[in-house]
Structure formats: structure tokens, C-alpha cells
Subunit: 84 residues, 2 copies
């Protein structure tokens, strides 16, 4: 059993309306020092697989569904865990 963390972030230069909205809200709350906010996702997956296949599996899932390769970068961390 594997615990996999997939981090997706918008590529540099891609507009981040959600980040801009958070920046404005923080300014309204008085946090003027905040210059920029970029928002991404962190997905924690529990996957039943074998050691030799897990990395390829994760790459495939990222490319096919979890990340949008046009506007997002992704990275992942794979950790073997004892099945509960």
C-alpha cells in the first residue's frame, strides 16, 4: 500500500484569479504586506500497487487526470505504508 501526495501549481505567467481574490481579501483585513498569492492543490491518494509499478502509475494518473499539463506543473511524493 502506498500513500502518494500530488502537488499541482499553476505555471508561472498563468493568471490566478483565486489567488488575486485572496490577496484582495487579505488587504481588506489589513495585511498590506501580502504581495502575491498563488493557489494550488495537494491530493493525498491511498493506492494498492506494487513497488515496481507505483511511480509509472502515478505519472499516468497525473498526466491523464490529476494535473492539467497546459496550465499546471505537478510533483509527487510516494511513501510506502503498512496496510491498515
Amino acid at each position: 500500500m502506498f500513500k502518494v501526495k500530488v502537488y499541482t501549481t499553476l505555471k508561472a505567467g498563468v493568471l490566478d484569479p483565486q489567488g488575486s481574490a485572496v490577496t484582495n481579501s487579505l488587504h481588506h483585513l489589513g495585511y498590506e504586506g501580502v504581495e502575491d498569492v498563488r493557489i494550488g492543490k495537494v491530493m493525498t491518494l491511498t493506492i494498492n500497487s506494487t513497488e515496481d509499478k507505483i511511480e509509472e502509475l502515478v505519472k499516468e494518473m497525473c498526466e491523464k487526470l490529476l494535473a492539467n499539463p497546459v496550465i499546471e506543473d505537478y510533483r509527487y511524493e510516494i511513501e510506502e505504508v503498512v496496510a491498515q
Copy 2:
């Protein structure tokens, strides 16, 4: 100048409809080994502050806006960067 990463994740036991939707989609794509998916956010903030104030500032922003303390846990990483 500081680069701060704030990670928010749903508390254990809190229903994650987005995670369930991703799990189902992965199953449809043939990735039957995926047992669970939990989705959280990673926010990267650029903040102009001083070393003695930055941590308190980040905690306040998390408690007031960036995380929902009722259903989310949060953690953060603070890194000093050279202003560009």
C-alpha cells in the same frame, strides 16, 4: 521578504466529495488500485514583513481567512527570500 507555503487539508472524518469524484474518475480510467483520494490546498504567499512578526502574521491569516478551522487542518512553511 518571505515566501510562505500554507497547506490546508480536510480533517479526518470530514466528507470529501471532490476526493470521491476523483476516485470514481480514476476507477473509470482503469486505476482500480486507488482506494482513497483527499484533496487540499497549497497556497504560496509572498509577504513583505520582518522576521520577528512573520510567524504571528501567518497564523493570524490562516485563522481568519486561509483555513476553515471547523473542517480543515493547516500547516505552513516560512522561507526568507531575497526581494526581487
